[in-house]
Symmetry: C4
Subunit: 205 residues, 4 copies
């Protein structure tokens, strides 16, 4: 049933994944339309009013980039693929490619604050589910030792497992916080994006 | 006429194909526009009303992903390319890259159900023709043994041929069913996407 | 000045090019919007009225695909890159990535036939210039023997040069013909796309 | 903290980067919409009036292409990656993927010249910051000799450092000049794109 395909290498799975990550990152920009200042307003002001779009672009671009780095690190240890791995990878990519949509929704409704709660919940839920998909892929690999390169130690596998687990919890924490005020959650997602870029943690190594 | 180009490897054909598959999967999302609730409606409701768009996104993403997995499997056995193979691959990609259009049409007309039949027929016909293109490519390869790696057995080739054949028939079955009610076809295409993800079948191995 | 960079391989030049070709092919589809039937019209009719969009999609997708195949064939013979080669490749890609725009213009103005002439001229001129860029790249290579693999014979180089030359002339022929009636040119570009797919010619080998 | 990951190669970092560069270049075109002539105007005139869009497309495509060539040249010397390198590369890509937005803004406001100053400042600032990000990446590498291939000489590293430094200054020069008249800056950015294509300089080697 779950027979390993020994002839498979992971090259094309990584190529397809790199494509989806790169396109999802780059598509974010076309959700930001050219602004048209209202009467009496300058283009400069209109451009500044788009700041939630720039914020959303930066946070989502960085988050997808960090997830790509995790994907890259996982597949340095993965040697073989099987059907479940392929399917779990596809589900992760499905979440990644979805991100431009909640990003555009959040950017628009950060300017119309009365409906911002729902926008933040959609944004945070997407990140949470994406992080769960990443963990599901890694847990499948970690529990199927034959998919992993022989030279990878048990210690390394367990350390990786521990490192990925907080992701979904941190993203999920933004959901109840949004009911206090959506801006806390927005700040949390921005802070998480910055945090993962710091050299202090090894999220991308 | 159909001379094999012995100097060709399949690397760049696979790279171009990976690109088209990845972009087609990721472009699906930009067909979902940011919703603008009508008066008295909340953003949450407006987001929920977009469910046909999410459904279409998931079904088309998964279907393209499964077809990519088939493409990947075929090209593990293919060793050389010729003109006809290149052209048939191009026609398959032409179908794949077309999928975001019927997906957007279906999502919109699932909300305006009086015209849903035509939208489902366009959607189902696109999947059917795409599956025929996949079969055409494989049949050309299966009947031109010199394109295939020496170590690939006749049994494996014939098993692959048998495995791909039901695809067009299953997708085509949704077309007459749509005249009973379009929802049966929609359910069928959703079920097929789920089915191919199950580890029970070996569609992606 | 034009010193050859002996450390360069062509791998990443081909990777970037594959990306641009794949994206240009796939972006064609998002120029086709979901149709909204006018009162008294069915969705089926509205979908059929979009036929110029499908025609433009198929012609441009196929033409870009054939040009990709030519690019692929050229780079099988190219061993080293220099500054001019990189620049000429970039100019060719600039033309390729432009194609979705004249395709969208042509599709729209095939339905508003009083302005179709200008749309066809833009479409034909884009194809002509793209074919000139392809020839410029090859002529630079053909006249700089040190960029080419040692095992490639003079005969093969000259045969390739002869094969690429008619391209710009054939595409340019559609420009004066458009003044008789734009439909002749449209037919010519459709016929050329089909012709290059035929196994009779070796445009992609 | 900044430990080098000796198992990492740069292959997938380059693959992701190639993807983002290629997509940013190709997405530029979808910012140019199909023109709709006003009453009494022909399609030809309407197409000509779009010249700022063509100009912006060509300048941004070429500039991204030159930056890709620099990226390509840097990574020919880079042998290992570390966390900071990955993050700086991501920040560079974040700038590259942003370019279609200021390009679309500039194209639109070159036709509405009373607000052109702000559009040029956004365009020039984006190019300046992108060039700073490129320099930051290279300076990190140049000061961390263990990331670089052993066969790369100190002379080569220092020559590369000197070559990249003028970039941000040249792009930044367009910002104060825009206050004289925005057209000088527009001319400067066009001239810089052309200049880097000349074989006289070695920006892409």
């Amino acid at each position: 049933m779950h027979e390993v395909d020994y002839h498979a290498d992971t090259t094309r799975l990584e190529a397809l994944s790199d494509g989806v990550f790169a396109i999802a990152m780059t598509l974010l920009i076309i959700e930001i339309g050219v602004p048209h200042p209202v009467a009496g307003e300058g283009l400069g002001e209109a451009l500044l009013e788009l700041w939630p779009s720039y914020f959303g672009y930066a946070v989502s671009f960085t988050t997808i980039g960090v997830m790509w780095a995790n994907h890259h690190q996982m597949f340095k240890d993965i040697y073989r693929t099987d059907h479940v791995l392929t399917v779990l990878n596809l589900l992760w990519l499905l979440c990644i490619a979805f991100i431009p949509f909640p990003t555009a929704v959040l950017a628009e409704y950060m300017r119309q604050q009365d409906q911002m709660l729902e926008a933040v919940l959609l944004f945070g839920a997407t990140f949470t589910i994406t992080a769960i998909a990443a963990n599901a892929l890694w847990l499948w690999v970690a529990t199927h030792r034959n998919l992993i390169d022989d030279h990878v130690s048990e210690v390394r596998i367990r350390s990786r497992t521990r490192r990925y687990l907080p992701g979904p919890l941190l993203y999920a924490a933004g959901l109840p916080l949004a009911f206090v005020t959506p801006w806390i959650s927005v700040g949390l997602y921005g802070a998480l994006a910055l945090f993962y870029l710091l050299p202090l943690n090894d999220a991308t190594s």
